[in-house]
């Protein structure tokens, strides 16, 4: 194992009874970079974070974080990591300032430091005005920012963010992204799990796509798009019932079966961009199939995801999080 990796895991395995959550996953994040862990719900993302953050023991494999073994050196490692989860883990019956001071004291910061650090973080996260209000009066976005602030109290060199923007409104997401980018520019290493492709695209230096506990691909966003994306032909039919006929008609010019886009369009992988639209229109016209819309698109992470997992990251279809109203307080 090389020493410049802040996070390094090999062959991680974990099962809950008969359910295999992780089935031999390798991960690596050099110091000062963001590794995005991308996958649908239940892919094993949270399990991976919990193992790396010392909350859960792995059944097999090994992992080092900040140079320390997650199992053997768990106690020492906890002083070097910060964790912010999809649940905003803050105490509702304390004020924002009291929450951060509590965490500072539990990190055993020197006397006076918890208070100073709390004020500094509240200021940076735009929560100074709410510092002395009970957290139960905070909005979802404010709680999430406080949760992230709590993870930063001890200036940890490694940060684990488990779906940090799930359930947030677009404005709060962008604020949170900027904060994360700021930490990374100062040398923090981040492991970020997300279901949102745009989030991974924007923040992550490297992206690991996992599903059913297995690593499907790993690389930079551009590498993944080149390798797994390919050009796409999006086709909207006048009559959706003619999908099979259209697939048959286009078979000679496309390179694989279509997948369904959330909009109802069919999305075909194709080899070449040049002339594909003209050829497709001609063939469908000859087959007597009416076209409502046809377009080429360059690969996105969505296509990578679709190609690798066989399903759309539908939660991210509009590039934004689902409306609030999930069960998280």
């Amino acid at each position: 194992m090389t020493s410049d990796a802040a996070i390094e895991a090999s062959g991680l395995r974990k099962s809950y009874g008969k359910v295999v959550a992780l089935d031999g996953v390798d991960l690596r994040a050099p110091a000062g970079t963001v590794l995005g862990l991308l996958g649908p719900n239940g892919a094993g993302k949270t399990t991976a974070v919990r193992i790396l953050a010392t909350l859960l023991g792995a059944d097999g494999g090994s992992a080092r974080v900040a140079g320390l073994d997650v199992d053997a050196d768990a106690g020492a490692l906890r002083a070097k990591i910060g964790l912010a989860g999809q649940y905003a883990a803050v105490d509702e019956n304390l004020t924002g300032a009291e929450n951060l001071q509590l965490v500072g004291r539990l990190y055993h910061l020197p006397r006076g430091e918890p208070r100073a650090r709390s004020a500094e973080l509240l200021e940076r996260f735009g929560l100074s005005d709410a510092a002395d209000r009970l957290v139960r009066t905070y909005s979802g976005g404010m709680r999430r920012r406080l949760d992230l602030a709590a993870a930063l109290v001890s200036r940890p060199p490694v940060l684990f963010l488990d779906e940090p923007t799930t359930g947030l409104d677009p404005r709060s997401r962008i604020d949170l992204w900027e904060t994360i980018e700021d930490r990374v520019s100062k040398g923090t290493t981040v492991l970020l799990t997300t279901q949102y492709l745009d989030e991974a695209d924007r923040l992550a230096d490297r992206i690991a796509v996992i599903d059913h506990g297995r690593l499907l691909a790993e690389g930079s966003s551009d590498e993944l798009k080149d390798r797994f994306g390919g050009e796409r032909l999006d086709l909207t039919l006048e009559d959706r019932g003619q999908a099979d006929a259209a697939t048959a008609a286009l078979q000679p010019i496309v390179s694989g079966p279509p997948s369904d886009l959330p909009s109802g369009a069919l999305c075909f992988p194709v080899e070449r961009r040049q002339g594909t639209i003209a050829a497709a229109v001609r063939r469908l016209d000859e087959a007597g199939i009416g076209i409502d819309d046809v377009a080429m698109h360059r690969p996105t992470l969505d296509d990578v995801f679709l190609g690798l997992t066989g399903r759309a990251a539908s939660e991210a279809e509009d590039g934004g999080p689902p409306a609030a109203g999930d069960d998280r307080a």
Partner: protein, 257 residues
């Protein structure tokens, strides 16, 4: 690692947090204050006339019993709080911090001692107003107070375990009422054991609640103590030790639901 000092400091930091919660959301305060008053008054004035306790006024017979029952339940705040912390992910945060593995639990049970002291004081005052009188030397009365705080502390650990294993704050509360409530009634707390049917009486006589209630009557009323006081203290220490070990072990593996 300066282990012990850090553990102690972590415990105090978290005990303070638990007590602040009561101040911030005073709904829980009702169960420490109003509920004990209500129970004393209901038993003394509603049941009191119908229950015969040869040799004693019912209020004298009742106060040690009802104090034991109230102390046994004082720890339910620990179950409620832990179960909430688990659900909200706070336990995950605490477990990711470089802090003592026992502090989250010890902090909560420690805070219960403070609230139990408040309930105990209220019950003694209400009892005295309702006609209770101590019939034992001051040192014994103080020993009784000490025994009650120890007994309450032991049950805080029982509730800590309940809070960690139950799936919701509601179910942890239900456990208290379904398991512990009957145990306190099938004892010498409210009626003389002789008045029960044979099967119940056999159980009541070995019930640690009976031993503890009898110990309290010895310390507060001056009844013959036998081995009750020592046995009650040993039961409390035993319960605290076993459930502290079970709870800490469970906490280390606690997972969010």
């Amino acid at each position: 690692m300066s282990g012990l000092r850090d553990s102690l400091s972590d415990t105090l930091v978290l005990a303070r947090r638990s007590l602040m919660r009561i101040q911030r959301a005073p709904d829980l305060l009702v169960s420490f204050t109003v509920q004990p008053i209500m129970f004393v008054l209901l038993f003394v004035y509603v049941f009191g006339g119908a229950i015969s306790t040869p040799g004693y006024d019912y209020v004298d017979f009742l106060i040690p019993g009802i104090v034991v029952q109230t102390m046994a339940f004082g720890g339910f705040v620990t179950a409620l709080g832990l179960s909430e912390d688990l659900k909200k992910g706070l336990v995950d945060r605490f477990r990711s911090l470089p802090m003592s593995r026992a502090a989250v639990l010890a902090g909560r049970t420690f805070a219960d001692i403070a609230t139990n002291t408040v309930s105990l004081a209220i019950m003694i005052v209400v009892g005295l107003i309702a006609g209770f009188s101590f019939g034992a030397p001051a040192l014994d009365v103080i020993a009784g107070i000490g025994l009650m705080l120890l007994f309450g502390y032991a049950f805080s650990w029982v509730f800590a375990f309940v809070g960690l294993v139950s799936s919701s704050p509601e179910s942890s509360q239900a456990f208290g009422f379904i398991v512990i409530f009957p145990l306190t009634f099938i004892s010498s707390a409210f009626v003389p054991v002789d008045s029960m049917p044979a099967v119940l009486r056999a159980f009541a006589e070995v019930n640690p609640f009976t031993i503890t209630v009898d110990a309290m009557r010895a310390l507060w009323l001056g009844t013959p103590a036998g081995n009750n006081v020592w046995q009650a203290a040993l039961w409390a220490i035993g319960i605290a030790t076993v459930f502290a070990a079970l709870s800490v072990n469970r906490y280390k593996r606690a997972v969010i639901r």
